[in-house]
Amino acid sequence: MTDTVPLYAALGLTSDEYERIDKTLGREPSHTELAMFSVMWSEHCSYKSSRTYLRELPTHAPWVVLGPGEGAGVVEVAPGVMVAFKMESHNHPSAVEPFQGAATGVGGIVRDILSLGARPIAVLDPLRFGPLSDERNRYLFDGVVRGIASYGNSLGLPTVGGEAIFDPAYSGNPLVNAMCVGVFEDLEVLRGRPRSSGDLAVLVGSKTGRDGIGGASILASQEFEEGAEAKRPSVQVGDPFTEKLLIEACLELKRDGLLTGMQDLGAAGITCALSETAASAGLGVDGDLDAVPLREAGMEPWEICMSESQERMLACVAPDRIDHVVRVCAKWGLDASVVARYAEGGRLVLNAHGTEVTDVPAQALADGPLYERPVLHADRSQLHALDPLDLRWPEPEETLMRLLASPSIASKEWVWRQYDHMVRLNTLVVPGSDAAVLRIPESRRGVAGQPGIALATDGPGRIGSLDPYIGGALAVCESARNVACLGARPLAITNCLNFGSPEKPEVMGDFAASIRGIRDACLAFGIPVTGGNVSFYNESPNGAVHPTAIVGMLGVLDDAYAHRPVRVRDGDVIVLLGETKPELGGSEALAVVHDTVAGRAPALDIDREVALVRVLCSGIGAYAHDLSDGGLGVALAEMCVSSRIGAHVALPPDVDPLWGLFGESTARAIVTSRPNEVEALLGCGLPGVVLGTARGARLQIDGVLDVSVADLARVYDDAIPALMER
């Protein structure tokens, strides 16, 4: 802070925002009040640039129990079985301190699920980094994976999926998103608000320290610059052990009927939790900061209000239950301190050392400003001008092997073997397939007819950079295809929208287009968006990241054990469903072979996507695999490697091996079946062509390539370990 910069500006507020605070209060804010407004009105907490667009998303469906606006969305996946799920970003903290940034990202999203009173049962982590040829990117990738492993494994939560994609656009600003899924052990969804005035606000869990002051809210609301290490002290430090105790304690409090509401403490800490819970109930709150258990003496009121210390929850408790609450928390070794009492009047009043330090309307804190940022639809004509078919390409076999060795395509087992993906005994399909399949805990007995869920994340950033509308729509379509390949019906999505600075009109243009893409796809599939997160300011000195809308899809299986197999059977016929067009724009092949992301995005046909997903969900055929990054060539290779079997196929005569194998035309999947069921498959109403048969130990494409599955597997399996363990 220098003499020339006013305090509000140093805290990230604009002069307009400062004036609005002044007007709301009818006086100048105190230091503590200013600090509270600065975090609550940050982009990260207030969604001030994105709210108008988010309203365009469909949020209703008969199975939606709780839509956006609370800790997470809740849907009913089967009668009486409710699932909570949400995705969030922890990009900037992870760029500064990868291990703790990623670890606390998991911790934060887990508390979101817990805040509703659901038991967290799974985590997924979509990740984006710069190329692994760069040492810094290897350091970030390694640290992020270790951080997720450390936190998730310690909690006893299986990490069942996600993505790891590498692209120069993410050098300097990696994306670390985390999704958590929970189930309710009863039929009660807790809300983030007290039942009535007089309820107590009880802080449960870790003590409050100086760590992470303004961490998520400030770090995530500014552009990133060189020398970001200086911001390390604002990255929170995770303590998964305490979080594990917090989960068990909070679920026990709920089981014992001791809570009227609950809210997690994340960005903006106590300020956010107190003001949001009070505002949501139309109440105010009288608090005493002296009652907050502190890690160190001498913390200022504004530091206590701003602290983003991890592993804390705010429980709303009727006064006659408080002794019981303290007893349960003590059993788990946790502090439970009454820090405030909800009151009529709508004012958030906090005292410290007998002096009033804040007196502001709770609603004003919770309702941040709303901006109509200037929007510009970027001119991409130069990017689109490239026709990849005009370029010189190596032989298809070489292209295929280079694709399999590309870390974005290659096996991610190196990642997920570091994650406990089995604990809780629900994981029926482990990471490495199109989607993970979990039985829900109530259906553990292995009896048919018990429901299950399928989970997948997708966010085609390369496509988004060429056409953000198609990128957004494809994130929905691809994730729908992914769960449908396991036989699950798409039910609802959460999303994490990762973009550059909203102060740049072309970024807002990309953002608006992405949202429209997501909206149109969701409407076509008839599925709601039940929550999510917006992460702006993903910029490095090289510019903004690709417009990366990441979708977390929740699919449902009426019978968890009836999911499609993850391997193809010997002798089964391989059918390609969908239409293959001469499209190579934005393909992984173009990125790997020619080191460029350009051309036109593949054409989008949402109705065709819906039809394909319907066919996949109908259970027709046996094994199914989605075609996306790397096209048909990579899909066939992945099928062979994961099934440990070869395939003998021929491309249709009108299909060129280059775009036929490596183009990324949308709305396609390979489906296999017994020879006598092929007719039914071809009569499914979609364009379909028989490619060949699964057999032998080689992938043979007539007249194009012939490679042993062992060689495919070696390249595919070794690529990431060879880069990371050298």
Binding site: R146, A149, S150, N153, S154, L155, G156, D239, P240, F241, T242, K244, L245, W332, G333, W416, R417, Q418, Y419, D420, H421, M422, V423, R424, L425, T427, L428, V430, R444, R445, G446, Y561, E725
Partner: protein, 218 residues
């Protein structure tokens, strides 16, 4: 008579529900026991499940060995009754010197959640009496500190076929001299149903349950 098996919950345990579920599926009367209680309520046997007791921020198991329940576990062990430690439970048994040796960080210095094949080396323990000598079991591991080290000659219950973590002599599990206290790194409860990838862990779980019903052969 269903044998009563206590599954100890330390703060930070995270496999206790899985173990209780798997044991109940095999017909045992399994239930939780809190680490702070010095009494196991007359259980016929006890399991220390996997997880991160007390966060494992210090050496794994180093704090858990001082939990009040460990006196009861030791008394049960002295009585010749079955005591099984799985993963973190094995680390705790080693810290408590109920089995010999120690578990240090994996050779590759990474957490590993992978399937392993192990062989049964000794059928005279509470965890192997339903197995045959040399029998191969497919059971996953899930740990950062599973690299077994020991002075002298521990009584080996299980060995890895392909050593995943650098364990000395490929040791995946050991017992005390009497064979009634067994610690192993692989998680039998995770291999308790074909739908989870293997049902081989049932050999170990049923061995434990049988051992709770009859006096140990050793």
């Amino acid at each position: 008579m269903k044998p009563r098996i206590a599954v100890v919950v330390f703060p930070g345990s995270n496999c206790e529900q899985d173990v209780v579920h798997a044991l109940r599926s095999e017909g045992a009367d399994a239930d939780y026991a809190w680490h702070g209680d010095a009494d196991l309520g007359g259980a016929d046997g006890v399991v220390l499940p996997g997880g991160f007791a007390h966060g494992d921020y210090l050496r794994t198991g180093a704090i858990a060995r001082f939990s009040p329940v460990m006196d009861a576990v030791r008394a049960l062990a002295d009585d010749g009754k079955p005591v099984l430690g799985i993963c973190n439970g094995f680390q705790i048994l080693a810290e408590a010197h109920l089995v010999s040796g120690a578990l240090i960080k994996n050779e590759g210095l990474r957490f590993l959640c992978v399937w392993t094949d192990i062989t049964v080396e000794d059928t005279d323990t509470i965890a192997t009496r339903a197995c045959e000598k040399g029998q191969r079991l497919r059971i996953p591991i899930n740990h950062y500190e599973g690299n077994y080290r020991a002075d002298g000659q521990p009584r080996v219950a299980f060995r890895y076929v392909d050593n995943p973590n650098g364990a000395w002599e490929n040791i995946a599990g050991v017992s005390n001299d009497a064979g009634n206290v067994v610690g192993l790194m692989p998680h039998p409860e995770r291999a308790s149903h074909e739908l989870l990838g293997s049902a081989d862990g049932r050999f170990i779980l049923t061995s434990l349950i049988e051992s709770c019903c009859v006096p140990s052969r050793t």
